[in-house]
Amino acid sequence: MAIVKMQKLSVCALKKNRKITLETLQKLGALEIIHNAEEEKELELMDTQEARATFQKRSEIFESALSSLAAYAPEKKGLLESLNGNALVDKSVYEAYVEKAEEISRSAGEVVSAEKGISECRGAIQKNEARKEQLQPWIKLDVPLDCQGTDKTTVFIGTLTGVVDEAALFALASEGISSDSAVTGDVLFTTNDSTGISLMCLKKDEDQVYANLRSHGYAKVAQAETEIPSVLCERLDAQNKAKEEEILSYQKEIVAHASEAEAYRVMADYYRTRAEKYRFLASVPQSQSSFFIEGWVPSDKAERISKILTDKCDAVVEISDPAEDEEAPTVLRNNKFSQASESVLASYGLPTGKNVDPTTIMSFFYVIFFGMMLSDAGYGLLMALITGIVILKCPRMEQGMRRFLQLFFWCGLSTMFWGFMYGSFFGDLIDVIAKTFFGYEGKILHAWWFEPLDQPMKLLMYCILFGLIHLMTGLILRGRDCLVAKDYVSFVADTVAWMCLVLGLVLMLIPTSLFVSIFATTINLPAWAMMLGKILTIIGLVLVIALNGRGSKNIVLRLLLGLYGVYDLTSWLSDLLSYSRLLALGMATGVIASVVNMMASMTAGIKFIGPIIFVIVLIFGHTLNIGINALGAYVHTNRLQYVEFFGKFYEGGGRAFEPFHTVNKYTEIKEEQSL
């Protein structure tokens, strides 16, 4: 349970060793560079923007080649396998790939251009489809849409407003035309409010017919296609077919590269790592022939790093402790059990060098509270089994994921424990089965402690007691922070005073009739304890009133602030009541599990298929219950830590340690020693 002490490492080396120094540091992955704001005159920073962009781009080419491969030639991967982290690549294989970088790049380029070809084909097909759709109404036409007529005739193709049938069309078009002149036309389609027509007349009648049509809202067809619609449609269809085939051939081309996926992965990581190197290099000050790196390293690794750098890269290395005002980045180090919950702390905020790392203490409360909320032996067993198997089967899982699963493994065990305490194994499943199938009436699984549904008030009392312990622990941690900072007044005002006041009040409350009526139990305290309660309360009150306003010099104001401080008791009350969720969520799991069991047992009487439905209902119901209650338990355990516990002492605000390292998304190179 600690924050790893950080030291400053100053490295100075010759420029000719720059490559090897940087690569060594990157492989070690244990130094975070310090960006110095004030630049010295003789030193300058290199502009690596261009090189970085180049490498980034190359890495992206591999990425997009990989995503094409994943789309057309998906690799079969089991669920467990996909959890198993980055693939392990032999160093020799890796080096062979790097040697063939050009070749692999070309191959990835082919995949990318095939993908581009596919999307171009898709675009063309889509365009053709749209064109076809627009042609569809005119499909009956046997002249092109942009047909103007012949030497002697004029053709009108377009739409009229309103629905017009053939006879009406003929009548309205031929109005005012000498009867020996011919007008002939077709209604091609009608919609709700328009009619598509084609009409042919003699050239001499053109103006009259046009005027007639205009008076009925004639609009010339918008598309100027030069082919007969049906012919054009066929041609487009043929074109699309060809494009589809082209897509297939492109896909084949991509699939043919499937065997190179590993190479792509290695190269994607290779270029990503190189891009990262140039990003790092951009903040390394350099002179004409040497360069300087200043960075944070964990103090236990400092010696080793310094030795490696001196031996391998001819560098001059200096290790120093951080100055008083410097904020070192934070690295947490905890025992195996507690490190699982580091991420819980980290997502609230990392501690700064001045705080104590509360992970260890929090991890115990976390696991216990989670167990109380889920509180079913069967569910806990399932959780612990599943997470345990996954952890064992996937030894190389990514660290964050692994810790997350570890946390739930422990939470599962705790859930199992509390389940037995409350006498709940998939709710009352054992009793239900015994009763339904074997006709045995009575309880088989007895609670080790007691059943919450029988004595809810008793459990509520214990929940609040656990809450009190949790909060007091928080206060003690705050006191420790104050003592470390040598702020003794705050220690007395924030920790001692409140501990006295709260504990004193609790001791005074226990013998009162209020307590007895609420919890229906009498706890007989010895006289000295009652006396102690009174004394503690008075001491606490005096201290709070005297010290809460200690920032103010005005005596009246100080007194008022002190009295106002006593008002904080209400927040203690609400904090303590907040722990009632331990009871409520715990009961919710058990009761819903019982509902599921009861529903299942109702079906068991059906002939033949009864037991099958019984099992199906059980599986479905309990899965749902685990899901929703595990989510609830997770959220509310977090809340108890973040709001109630951390609220008492923890501020966070630390910065995560971000060392210069290899950026591997897919692969990990064997033999690569990281510290």
């Binding site: 997502s347 929703i628 209650n629 977090n638 973040y642």
Partner: protein, 155 residues
């Protein structure tokens, strides 16, 4: 079935119906927001789903209370206990905290979840904290549940 049984049944119905309705509203509001974020970034699905589910608990609490009432007074086994009217009314009132609290807090928590989904859209790394805001609302549903259960147990 006595008048008391009817009141107890009414209480159970309201607990399940109103609290469930609150959850439905809340999960619905949050789901709309989550679906919007999914269109931009499908990889956030798991986190979005968790946030959407947060207001779902009120319905469970309502079910819990409803079930306790139904099973305590024989309304589930088909042999009503024949409660006195006053007792039945007592059960009815005992159901009200989770019915009303569940309805309102479910909806409010849903809106809060929808806002937290906005956090996931822009700053996915703040997932743990974004869960806290809706969890704050839930406190009051838990308190309502507690009073409902304790009251029913005491009747």
């Amino acid at each position: 079935m006595s008048m008391g049984d009817v009141f107890a049944l009414l209480g159970a119905a309201l607990a399940v119906g109103l609290a469930g309705g609150g959850s439905a509203l809340g999960v619905g509001v949050a789901g709309q927001a989550a679906a919007g974020v999914m269109t931009q970034d499908p990889s956030k699905f798991a986190r979005l789903l968790i946030l959407q589910l947060l207001p779902g608990t009120q319905g469970i609490y309502g079910l819990l209370v409803g079930f306790i009432v139904l099973s305590n007074y024989g309304l589930l086994s088909g042999a009503p206990a024949g409660l006195a009217t006053a007792t039945g009314l007592g059960v009815f009132f005992a159901c009200l905290p989770i019915a009303i609290g569940g309805l309102i807090s479910g909806y409010a928590q849903g809106k809060c979840s929808a806002a937290s989904i906005g956090i996931i859209a822009k700053r996915p790394e703040e997932f743990a904290k974004s869960m806290l805001f809706p969890a704050m609302v839930e406190t009051y549903a838990i308190l309502a549940l507690l009073v409902s259960i304790l009251a029913i147990m005491a009747i």
